[in-house]
């Protein structure tokens, strides 16, 4: 241990750390642009200059190792002057782009301009002009004028994404960030440079000019693109999801997420194909009905089958709570042993960074809470075989478009009853007799278990008609807070959807089951008492970083797979 003094306060720190790391550990932020905890040290922005006693000049905190007895000053006059000088240099050629810059509002350069700069410019000449609106790759936009040459994006591409295509050309104030000839920034993690970039030089092409950052609410969630379950924030304006960004969790995804998850896991929430409510097949056509009618219809039809003629398919996309209530409905209330879940594995589509071949966020969770055949019950293969043979006549499917898999679609017409939970119109809902419109992961509370066995919380970011942003404790933007009924933004598009656990619980009640749950947390509390792996867990313990379950050996990889 090394004893160091920072701004008059003594600390004991690991001698292997640099000054900036040691300070960060003690909760002292030394301003910096180019340094990043997960990238190599470049030391080029000079923003982290600090005064260290017995050193002749100011030193950069990111590249100076701590030593026993070191005395560091981060707020002395010398340091403040040096920072102001660094800021002045950075701003000399920086364009006055904030009004059209997507970074504005979450820009380090803006923030530091308020905190560490003098607040006016002494520069009277023409600024250097550089290329703007450059498509650096299919998903990232570059504005060279805004670049402060911190090289974070270069280091990320080299070190983390392992696609070294970015570099600087030219010298002095004419430096230009560019890609090597005939290359582009198109690796599966390319969009992480958008958050890494401390300014608005690298921005998202998908989110481009969609919204100012302060107009949105942000809600902690988990990506549902694969079994990794990267921690995310969901950004919503006017009840519409506009973007996802990664949220730091060192045990799961560090600071990153993949482009696929970022771009393709939220658009269905806003989609035109969302179901407008529950549907029941009448005279061969799906007809929109009320919830009570749909539940009554499902129940009366279910009652016409023998227990062994029915089967349930849970969902690796739905939450643990949904799957738990669903398997109780199937096994305890309906009384069938035939319960299983469809895996969605894309063989080979994985890497050793984040991406997993299992494209569902909750496979382990679904099986762990009981979505698996009871003793003597049929597994997925058996259920499909049973449907083909005519032994299984009724199927209840939770949040999974099983008909998009040709081998399953082939047998489904044999069924006499198909009940489906789905948030969007898809191949399975078209074949169904009863369709319940269920909330998406962005509209409900719940937990997902990733491939490591880490239970992680999701929270509602988009409101359905049965929810109220204020009363149900959503995170709210200023518009959400002050909207009145006669404002257009006070009448957002809300869908008539309910979380699957609530629907399954209502069906169970209609069939005579006693248990009732008011909230997803109620369900989780029951799981914590009934499922050994969940023992001692609560929403509070899961928190925003997740908590491990003691999972049994039966994991995703050991299961028979049907490819997506």
């Amino acid at each position: 241990m090394a004893k160091i003094t920072v701004d008059g306060q003594q600390y004991e720190v690991d001698p292997k750390l640099t000054v900036i790391q040691a300070a960060a550990q003690q909760g002292i932020e030394i301003p910096h642009f180019c340094w990043h905890p997960k990238l190599s040290v470049a030391g080029n922005c000079r923003m982290c200059l600090v005064e260290i006693e017995k050193m002749p000049k100011l030193a950069i905190a990111c590249a100076t190792q701590v030593a026993d007895g070191m005395v560091v000053k981060t707020k002395s006059e010398k340091v403040i002057n040096a920072r102001e000088a660094v800021m002045e240099f950075l701003l000399i050629n920086h364009p006055l782009d904030c009004p059209i810059c997507d970074e504005a509002g979450e820009c380090k350069l803006q923030d530091y301009s308020y905190k560490y700069s003098v607040g006016y410019s002494r520069f009277e000449h023409d600024k250097v002009h550089k290329p703007k609106r450059i498509e650096l790759g299919p998903r990232v936009m570059l504005d060279v004028e805004r670049c402060i040459m911190c090289s974070r994006c270069v280091r990320f591409s080299d070190e983390i994404a392992k696609q070294p295509v970015l570099t600087f050309t030219q010298r002095g104030d004419h430096v230009v960030l560019t890609t090597f000839p005939d290359t582009q920034l198109d690796n599966p993690y390319s969009m992480n440079v958008i958050e890494l970039c401390p300014v608005g030089a690298l921005t998202s092409r998908d989110f481009r000019f969609k919204s100012r950052v302060w107009e949105m609410s942000s809600t902690e969630s988990v990506c549902n693109g694969c079994a990794r379950g990267c921690n995310t924030n969901i950004w919503v304006r006017n009840n519409e999801v506009l973007r996802l960004t990664p949220r730091f969790n060192d045990d799961v995804n560090s600071y990153w997420m993949c482009d696929e998850g970022r771009l393709n896991t939220f658009k269905f929430v806003n989609s035109e194909k969302r179901l407008s409510g529950p549907f029941v097949k009448k005279n061969g056509a799906l007809t929109r009905v009320g919830w009570d009618e749909a539940i009554a219809e499902a129940v009366s039809q279910l009652k016409t089958f023998k227990k062994s003629e029915m089967a349930g398919i849970g969902s690796a996309y739905a939450t643990n709570e949904d799957n738990y209530v669903f398997q109780r409905l199937m096994k305890e209330t309906i009384g069938t042993k035939n319960v299983d879940v469809v895996p969605h594995v894309k063989e080979g589509d994985e890497d050793d960074i984040l991406i997993r071949a299992d494209k569902t966020p909750n496979m382990l969770g679904a099986t762990e809470v009981g979505v698996k055949p009871a003793d003597g019950g049929l597994s997925l293969k058996g259920i499909l075989q049973g449907i083909a043979d005519g032994g299984i006549k009724a199927l209840y499917v939770l949040e999974d478009d099983i008909a998009s898999i040709p081998e399953i679609a082939a047998v489904l017409p044999n069924l006499q009853l198909l009940i489906v939970h789905s948030s969007v119109q898809n191949k399975t809902t078209e074949m169904a007799d009863v369709v319940f419109s269920c909330s998406t992961y962005a509209e409900k509370h719940g937990t997902l278990t990733n491939f490591q066995g880490r239970v992680q919380r999701i929270r509602p970011a988009v409101s359905t008609i049965e929810q109220d942003r204020a009363l149900d404790g959503f995170s709210m933007s200023r518009w959400d807070k002050f909207a009145s009924r006669n404002d257009r933004w006070g009448r957002p598009n809300k869908r008539d959807a309910r979380p699957s656990w609530r629907i399954a619980s209502a069906v169970a009640s209609a069939l005579g089951a006693k248990t009732r749950y008011n909230t997803a947390e109620d369900v989780f509390q029951e799981m914590a008492t009934r499922i050994p792996a969940y023992k001692g867990l609560s929403y509070l313990k899961v928190g925003s970083r997740g908590a491990m379950i003691q999972h049994s050996s039966k994991t995703v990889s050991s299961r028979p797979t049907v490819s997506v």
Partner: protein, 166 residues
């Protein structure tokens, strides 16, 4: 405790006040004297009041060379204490990169404070001299770009006025 209010008008009228006649003539004198003064009323709507340049009429968008100056930065929307402004940005081929596909001011919400004008980095929204606001429904009170865009030629006074304070 506050002092009890002083009674300013005496309850007891004097003899001359009681008989009214002199008071009536006093009043008539004032009325008659106004016949020879300059009129301060307008024969609206045939005759209209033209406010000075410092007047804060309804906010409008400045149109220059057939395009709005606005870059849809959303600052006016953010600063508006009444939350009257809604801006949706989009991309344009023009050099400014960004423009408002939708720009709406809810005139029922607007309180004519002029903050939007003050915050705008582009001098793209200014307070006009227009004070005639009539609508028959809430929906009609939401002014879109069609009603807001005003060419610089018609905003000359205000733009000159603002210039003094740059």
């Amino acid at each position: 405790m506050a002092e009890p209010r002083k009674i300013i008008r005496s309850k007891d009228l004097s003899f001359w006040q009681k008989i009214y006649i002199p008071e009536i003539f006093k009043g008539l004198r004032i009325t008659l004297s106004h016949i020879f003064k300059k009129k301060s009323t307008y024969m609206y709507p045939d005759e209209r009041f033209k406010p000075p340049a410092s007047f804060r009429g309804r906010p409008v968008l400045v149109e220059e060379n057939g395009e709005e100056r606005c870059v849809a930065c959303g600052l006016c929307s953010r600063v508006c204490p009444a939350l009257a402004i809604e801006v949706q940005a989009s991309e344009t081929e023009l050099e400014k990169e960004r423009y408002p596909v939708k720009f709406e001011i809810n005139m029922v919400r607007c309180i004519f404070c002029g903050f939007c004008e003050e915050v705008c980095p582009e001098e793209a929204i200014v307070m006009s001299q227009n004070y005639e606001l009539v609508f028959n429904s809430q929906e009609e009170a939401v002014f879109g770009k069609d009603k807001l865009l005003t060419p610089t030629t018609r905003l000359h006074d205000r733009l000159e006025f603002l210039r003094q304070y740059r």
